[in-house]
Symmetry: none
Subunit: 219 residues, 4 copies
DNA sequence: TATGAATGAGTCTTCATTCAT
DNA sequence: GATGAATGAAGACTCATTCAT
């Protein structure tokens, strides 16, 4: 009772309905997506350790209760978040996979992952935290395994086509390249000024050179 | 570091017995080190997000007050922790650096970093968290830069000696290898079962192959 | 009770088909009864303190809104629940009351109250909580008084017939026996393993002996 | 910050230290006892279901944090509370046990249990809630068993002395009397006006008559 | 008639920090 | 020098209740 008055007092427009309760129109999936987006924002900006449901709700323009209405748990929210991020990544990879030129492919991949600045940041936060949340860890293992497979088959195709060195099995190369990617995803937000576009280009070129077949010395 | 001066200033008494073996039992530096060790343990086991000063105190067998007595802040504790971990890493690198054979060197590095199972874990936790704590981030930038230099000079020596490929500048190679290492430090705790000794050996061998000069025997 | 009038006022339509067997599916009273049954279940299993409207709705297979639609309040639901449980108890007592043999009567009472395992549990939960909800307390007082009257008249009949001791007024005996019953209803769920069938039989026999007239054969 | 001002605003004396932190003198056991007393009050007044740590803290004049400082858990607080109540009851029983006259003993017991009006209320609240908290239930089972033993031996002594009927085993009598007591503890707060001193006297006298040896009819 | 989205107060709990002793 | 009692804010979560649809 007391509280309600307080709330109304701080309401801006006098003509607007004082209560925000009741059933507004809208698809629950949309709201869930909104909340996941807000969670992404919060985690990207403040980090996993500092992300709270309250902040997520605030950023989404909801109350805390709304978040726990759509997600039973903080854990469930996080899991839904990882899955959704992976889904997006999946879709993006789909597009790229057709590219046969390994250099072009890597560049598109780079463009894709760095296109949404929040994406890599959130992924690395979630990855770093995965160790402590068994359910999260298992999602990572499951989905990460799929990506290694995709990478591996891409590299195998490259080996067949002669654009990727054959002396190292494709799965090891995939493992190494994705570890490298994870490392950068971790380092990038720490010292963004070091990762200038030209530095990034050099690193990508170097990566391509690393996995290219031995060409110059003997051919 | 910030507050260490303060502590020492009020702690260095001229009457201290110099004949005792090592530092006297009440030595603040010893206690600080003990607390840092406890902090390492706690973070390694429970993760940065779940590590609290209380847990650190408990693990060290100290009282809650002791932690804030020896460290003004949680932040200060964390900073001291990173510095101390880097100091240790520095010392370890010193030993290794003399090794000229690049393969032997990498293997010693591997042995060294994985020797203390808590080490890599804590480092990756702190690295992942660095982004959100400006002071921590700056420590990382400063000290990480030094390591890249060391790595670079090692790789340059290898290039000079002909054991490392010359088509990629040493600093790019260093960047890539350390990113790879960071990636693995992150992935390892997530799926330790995937990193069997033989898989690790393969990955290291593959890494060596990656940076090796294009040999005449291979095709 | 408070709001039942309101409901019925708006619910009794004259066009309702009278030929259908029982009440039509949409009958509010049926839904209310279903919800009360669900509430019984929830309270019996989880206890009054842990029972929430949401759980009741869930168990009944209704939506959250349905509960507050059929019952204005949580309090109203509880009151309706007590009344309905008492109604049932009333009906059960009706059947038994005819029994003239006091031992047979007690045994039928026992059989009756323990027949539905949820019954006693819910009653004791509601009884224990009654104190804190004035409306609930008043229901208890009113209906409990009636039962003491019934018990008293049964015992008086026994006294007249010579099967119940006459040195203690029937109302005091009724008070004592019902207190005993309440005590057991409270203790039973706490240590069910202690209340084996044979122990229960002994306790009932002893209770009968307690209220039996001092027989000539004893001592 | 905001809160502190509020706190200070309601502080009485202007010269008192604004902060209440730091280490005041005092025995932790005393504080624990204080908190238990506050918990007793709250539960007695508002019931177990409505008792919150906040209310306990408030009544004791502490903040919520203080309660969880002295008791790790709400559960731990409750357990400590039951144990302490039982300890008190134990001590009281000790005093009484020497009484050989069964009537005098019962009256002293009555006097004792009703002396502190909160005592019985809290006990019945805790008893009623015991079912849902395994740890609490086990404390009840353990300690309640002891009392039944004491009661049994008192009744056995009565039987040996000829003041208690011998046709019902003492342990059954103990069981019945304590159930009766629990029942009354439950009913009393519900309708205190019914339990006038004279009614209580009658009930006690009737109870004594119930367990007295068959005297009038044949001797 | 009935739904279910959303609220907002309240629950327990954890925690960094402060400070009298 | 060191302790540990106490704070107060924040955390996740639950829940009765409201109400647009």
């Amino acid at each position: 009772m007391l509280k309600r008055e307080t709330r109304q007092a701080s309401g801006s427009s006098g003509t607007e309905s004082a209560s925000r309760r009741g059933r507004p129109p809208g698809d629950p999936e949309v709201k869930r997506a909104e909340l996941l987006k807000a969670a992404t924002s919060v985690i990207a900006r403040e980090g996993f350790a500092n992300a709270s449901l309250r902040k997520v709700a605030q950023r989404a323009g909801y109350t805390t209760g709304a978040v726990t209405y759509y997600f039973a748990n903080k854990e469930e929210l996080i899991l839904a978040l990882v899955e959704s991020r992976f889904d997006r990544y999946d879709a993006m990879l789909e597009d790229i996979q057709a590219e046969t030129d390994i250099k072009a492919l890597l560049e598109r991949w780079l463009h894709m992952t760095t296109g949404d600045p929040e994406f890599l940041t959130v992924m690395s936060e979630l990855l770093a935290h995965g160790r402590h949340e068994p359910a999260l860890a298992s999602v990572w293992r499951r989905r990460y395994a799929r990506f290694r497979q995709v990478y591996t088959s891409i590299l195998e195709a490259g080996q067949a086509r002669g654009t990727v060195r054959k002396d190292i099995p494709a799965d090891l190369l995939a493992d190494q390249l994705s570890a490298m990617g994870d490392g950068w995803a971790l380092l990038f937000p720490l010292e963004p000024e070091r990762f200038t576009p030209s530095r990034i280009k050099d690193l990508v070129d170097a990566a391509i050179a690393l996995i290219a077949p031995a060409s110059g010395t003997r051919r």
